[in-house]
């Protein structure tokens, strides 16, 4: 018997070794073809008297990466198509049947009468782990880098092949939820301690131990199919179970704000599933899976968080004509927080880093700070001690620009001051070769303006990192008027080398990310001025899906910095500058009260030495009136936050600051945490519908101010009933260009 995706050998003891090894792929995935063959294998093992049982392992370094998301996407596309042809109810029924197939396959495996052992040789995620959970015995090779987990919820889905039923039956609801809700994985030793697998073993012994379990008479029955089975940690309505669930429900809400249908469904699948036999539990799981797959959140999250991000990671926007480039030596000017972060990610990517500061002591302090970051990561097991040591050795602290000689790329991360940046640009360019790229890590200053200080503006580009660099996934690349395609390609190659996600935007005040974040901060100020209680503003921001409230975020950014940016804009724009409530509040806070934010422990919040920050007791003094919260609709406050940011993103698109819908959405989510469940600001507009969105903007403009007036592009789209992903289909554009 031969299979395309699996090796199949029966040894002298009658034990089949099933080796999953999909051709032409670096990782095994649960695709239609692998599942079809697995079904055949199960029947072969079940039906052949000469076979005692089977061990499933992988021929690749990982066991399985999970379900093929392209297959998932096809499933939803087929569904959408069927709705049009056979009607919604029939289409849902078809989808429900299809969803039950993989679940039914695994159920067949565990009830086929022959023992199956999963010999987990490496990372097993999602559907891959679910396959192992259906096996009667699980052993995994000890390896701290190996991850066993169900990460589906990270892209808006949830374990739909029995994971929500088997994991809690193995380890109890509380522990299973703690893994499944955030999509967290664990290494084999932890997995064994939690009861996810039976044993973590030395890699060399993996297959021997797996086979021995069958040879020793391991039973082909799951614990939950036995009569004496009890749910670990107690049934739902045991005293312990009730406490677990009451807390789990509240903690679920605390962590998700009930914004994520997948997490919500996980809760109900586990709760309802644990009260019935597993077959009914699997059916319940399939019903919820069918519901979640059809949710706009799941579709948007798969698209932005997985597919689009992957395309951008692979440099979808790189000019094709430029040959591949590699940064071997990088110069970083400014050994502050950002400079050190850039040094960290670059050195880890194997790049030699020249870290320059005004004096040697400053540069060495920067190197040491990077060293501390590396040490911290090594301690947490994120990288090996050797890798940390090697990375630190690649960093050369210096106070002279002479070390820049031979650099392929120089990034300045000095103060946001045009004169200082101009001076640095000139001095650095004097040392580097003509084809080297000069990048500015500015977050607000227009690149075209900064490039006037450059002797070769074609090689000048914005490379905007986010703080903290070692954690934030996004890099915003800004092309100035003169920036060449080659320079763009080289900058993108560098971003790929340091394993970050690039978006490419055209020059504008605040570019894309800072510009949109500014509207979020400003909306908080407007609400404060209106008399909305400050706590309600902050909570509404978080409830809308933002990582922090606008006032807290403004404290982090520093209020005096916001004030200075506004002064600069006033000076630049002159009469065209429109003063608003935010100017008044910033004047009051910064000029009159010297409350600068977290930096001086006084902002919209007070920052006591002990204990958490608390809203400033006199914050109500910033508004002439105080509104009664019982008269306010928090939903509308939440909508205002998302609407103003989405509108500003649409304006960026209209003004050609953004040119690719994927970059708008991926950039907003990974740059400033825009409500991930929405799939990003443009997905959000598509979800609301351009017509309804424009209507809402007009209503808000009347109620809250002109800033909500929709742009012409949106009105046009509303009139034509268009979506961003329909009208500006990035794949359509590629096709027409090709």
């Amino acid at each position: 018997m031969t299979y395309e995706n699996f090796g199949f050998e029966v040894d002298a003891d009658g034990i089949a070794l099933v080796t999953w090894d999909m051709p032409g792929r670096s990782m095994n995935v649960l695709s239609e073809s692998s599942m079809g063959e697995l079904a055949d294998i199960i029947e072969k093992v079940a039906g052949d008297d000469a076979i005692k049982g089977a061990v499933i392992t992988s021929g690749k370094s990982a066991f399985c990466a999970g379900a093929d998301l392209a297959m998932m996407r096809a499933m939803t596309e087929d569904y959408t198509r069927s709705v049009g042809t056979i009607g919604e109810k029939a289409a849902v029924k078809d989808l429900f049947e299809r969803v039950q197939q993989s679940s039914g396959l695994f159920r067949r495996l565990e009830t086929c009468g022959k023992p199956f052992v999963a010999a987990i040789n490496g990372t097993a995620l999602g559907g891959g782990l679910e396959l192992t959970l259906a096996c009667h015995h699980r052993v995994a090779a000890i390896n701290p880098k190996c991850q066993l987990g169900l990460p589906e919820s990270k892209v808006g889905l949830f374990p739909g092949a029995g994971g929500t039923q088997r994991l809690p039956r193995l380890m109890g609801a509380a522990q299973a939820l703690q893994l499944m809700l955030p999509g967290r994985g664990v290494d084999p030793e932890r997995a064994a301690a939690m009861g996810m697998i039976h044993e973590a073993v030395d890699p060399g012994d993996l297959l021997v131990i797996a086979k021995r379990w069958i040879a020793d008479g391991g039973a082909a029955q799951q614990p939950w199919d036995g009569e004496k089975f009890r749910i670990p940690g107690g049934a739902n309505y045991s005293p312990g179970g009730m406490m677990t669930w009451a807390a789990a429900n509240a903690l679920y809400r605390r962590e998700t704000y009930d914004n994520y249908p997948a997490q919500r469904a996980i809760m109900s699948c586990v709760y309802e599933g644990l009260m019935v036999p597993i077959d009914a539990g699997l059916r319940i799981e399939a019903r919820y899976f069918t519901q979640v797959v059809r949710s706009p959140e799941a579709g948007n999250m798969i698209r932005s968080l997985f597919l689009s991000k992957q395309e951008l990671d692979k440099l979808a926007r790189r000019p094709a004509a430029t040959p591949p480039s590699e940064v071997k030596k990088l110069g970083i000017i400014g050994a502050g927080l950002m400079g050190c972060g850039i040094a960290y990610v670059s050195a880890l990517a194997g790049i030699d880093v020249m870290l320059i500061d005004v004096d040697q002591a400053g540069a060495e302090a920067g190197r040491d700070r990077t060293g501390a970051l590396l040490e911290g990561a090594a301690k947490k097991g994120r990288l090996s001690a050797d890798a940390a040591t090697a990375a630190l050795a690649r960093i050369t602290p210096a106070s002279t620009y002479d070390v820049l000689e031979g650099c392929d790329l120089v990034i300045e991360a000095v103060f946001e001051n045009r004169d200082i940046k101009a001076k640095v640009t000139g001095e650095a360019e004097a040392k580097i070769s003509d084809d080297a790229v000069f990048g500015s890590n500015t977050s607000t200053l227009p690149i075209t303006g900064l490039a006037t200080a450059s002797s070769r503006p074609a090689n000048f580009i914005g490379i905007h990192f986010f703080s903290p660099v070692e954690k934030m996934q996004l890099v915003e690349i800004i092309t100035g008027k003169e920036t060449s395609e080659d320079t763009l390609a080289k900058a993108l190659d560098y971003v790929r080398a340091i394993r970050k996600t690039p978006i490419v935007v055209n020059d504008s005040r605040g570019f894309f990310t800072s510009r949109v974040v500014a509207t979020y901060l400003a909306e908080g100020h407007h609400m404060l001025h209106e008399g909305v209680p400050a706590a309600m503003i902050e909570n509404a921001g978080r409830m809308a899906g933002m990582p922090v409230g606008p006032l807290a975020l403004n404290d982090e950014v520093a209020l005096d910095l916001s004030w200075k940016i506004r002064q600069a804009a006033k000076a630049d724009l002159g009469d065209a500058y429109v003063e608003d409530e935010m100017d008044a509040i910033l004047d009051e806070m910064v000029v009159k009260r010297e409350r600068f934010g977290r930096k001086n422990a006084k902002g919209f919040y007070d920052y006591p030495k002990e204990g958490p920050k608390r809203l400033w007791a006199d914050i109500a003094e910033l508004s002439p009136d105080q509104l009664d919260p019982d008269t306010l609709d928090v939903r509308e406050l939440m909508d205002r936050f998302l609407t103003i940011q989405a509108l500003e993103t649409a304006r960026c698109f209209e003004e050609n600051v953004l040119t690719d819908v994927r970059e708008a959405d991926v950039g907003a989510i990974f740059g400033f945490g825009f409500a991930p469940y929405s799939g990003g600001p443009l997905s959000y507009i598509d979800w609301v519908g351009a017509g309804a969105f424009v209507e809402r903007c007009d209503r808000y403009a009347g109620l809250y101010g002109e800033r909500f007036t929709p742009c012409a592009l949106l009105r046009e789209m509303a009139g034509r009933n268009e979506t961003f992903y329909g009208r500006f289909d990035p794949h359509g554009a590629v096709r027409s260009a090709a």
Partner: protein, 403 residues
């Protein structure tokens, strides 16, 4: 509509609701049955006249399960024709049992009924009956479920009651209860719980701490702070009430209702039934109402239901001489007095559940009997009894003395 009169009321003393409480040795059925026997014996009642017994019980499982009202009827040797039904409206069960029993009479379907309640919290345990509301994600999440204590702290936070405010209220409750006991104001209704030999097991409310003062309360740590933070309940409350930055946890064992065991019963009927039994009516049920309110803050029902029942009865708060607002938590009574504009001098005048305890299913019956005794003692006319209820409800009953 036929008038429903109250002919008599009894209650057991309240025993500390722990294994060292005096009533811990007594079964829930026996507590309920002793109340029924007392009603029969002190009125020389031919129990064959009673049509139905409605009893509140909040955790009706195990020994308290399977219709404890019928079990108590049979155990008390009532005539076998007397039916029994157990109802559950959480903390207002005992009051709603009276209302249900009154409905039988007012609708002319029955002539004589008993409304009562029982809870052996020491034996059955708070929450033993389970229930979907805190547990099933489909409801708990959308209802922003939090335990009562957190809701009470949310009330204090949202409406600005400080730790001193709630503690001062608790001190006053203890003082009033102590004075009422010393003055013999409960002796008309309290019937000692006795053993098989007729010996007293308990003849007084043993949860009381009359020595309580601000200083002793100040030493108690907030009971719900840790749970609120660690189990996510504070966060859930704040998502429902986003104007709150953080919860001010002010409640503790000393300013919350006590966990106790107890039972109570009230004999009711139409005029003719009373005459047949040779009984004089003490009061008339004038009006009652139930209402649902926002389930997360949960405990504001007494305000809404008081407004509702008064409107239906064509009355205003000024027409009510005495109020009983169950002291589930100090902040609840403070908020109700504040929102309804009530003088503390007319509210819970003989103390309440903070001092004497809250045997969940029985409390409503007890409050109604307590305030009836007090109306008679003061020679006043009208009273309103109300309780806050789990999952956001309120029940209220208005009675009026008849001469």
């Amino acid at each position: 509509m036929t008038d429903c009169y109250i002919y008599d009321h009894v209650r057991t003393p309240r025993g500390r609701g722990k294994s060292d409480g005096s009533l811990h040795e007594v079964t829930a059925m026996e507590l309920a049955a002793q109340s029924l026997r007392a009603i029969r014996d002190r009125n020389e009642l031919d129990t064959g006249l009673v049509d139905d017994v409605v009893m509140g019980c909040v955790d009706p499982v195990g020994e308290a399960g399977g219709d404890i009202a019928r079990a108590a009827v049979l155990s008390a040797d009532y005539d076998q024709t007397v039916a029994g039904v157990q109802i559950n409206r959480f903390c207002a069960s005992g009051l709603d049992a009276i209302n249900f029993a009154a409905m039988h009479v007012m609708s002319d379907q029955h002539d004589m009924t008993i409304g009562g309640g029982v809870e052996s919290m020491s034996r059955v345990g708070l929450g033993a009956a389970g229930g979907a509301w805190p547990v099933d994600p489909k409801l708990a999440v959308k209802a922003y479920y939090t335990p009562q204590g957190i809701s009470a702290d949310l009330v204090a936070t949202k409406y600005g009651f400080s730790r001193d405010d709630v503690d001062a209220y608790a001190v006053e409750s203890q003082k009033r209860a102590d004075a009422a006991w010393k003055d013999g104001r409960f002796k008309n209704s309290v019937v000692p719980v006795t053993d098989v030999n007729g010996l007293d097991i308990l003849d007084h409310d043993e949860h009381m701490r009359p020595e309580t003062d601000m200083q002793s309360l100040a030493s108690l740590r907030p009971a719900f702070a840790k749970m609120g933070a660690e189990a996510g309940f504070d966060a859930a409350s704040i998502q429902r009430y986003p104007e709150v930055e953080f919860l001010n946890h002010v409640h503790h064992a000393g300013n919350s209702s006590g966990i106790v065991d107890g039972a109570a019963a009230t004999l009711m009927g139409n005029e003719e039934a009373g005459r047949r039994a040779g009984l004089k009516p003490r009061a008339r049920i004038r009006a009652f109402a139930n209402i649902g309110t926002e389930p997360s803050i949960m405990l504001t029902g007494p305000i809404a239901v008081t407004e509702k029942v008064l409107e239906r009865a064509g009355m205003s708060v000024d027409d009510i001489d005495l109020f009983e607002i169950n002291e589930a938590f100090a902040s609840i009574v403070l908020l109700a007095m504040d929102k309804l504009g009530l003088d503390h001098g007319k509210v819970n005048v003989n103390g309440g559940a903070i001092a004497m305890g809250h045997p969940l299913g029985a409390t409503g019956t007890i409050l109604l009997g307590t305030v009836l005794d007090e109306l008679e003692r003061r020679d006043l006319s009208t009273a309103l009894v109300t309780l806050c209820i789990g999952a956001g409800m309120g029940t209220a009953t208005v009675i009026e003395r008849v001469q």
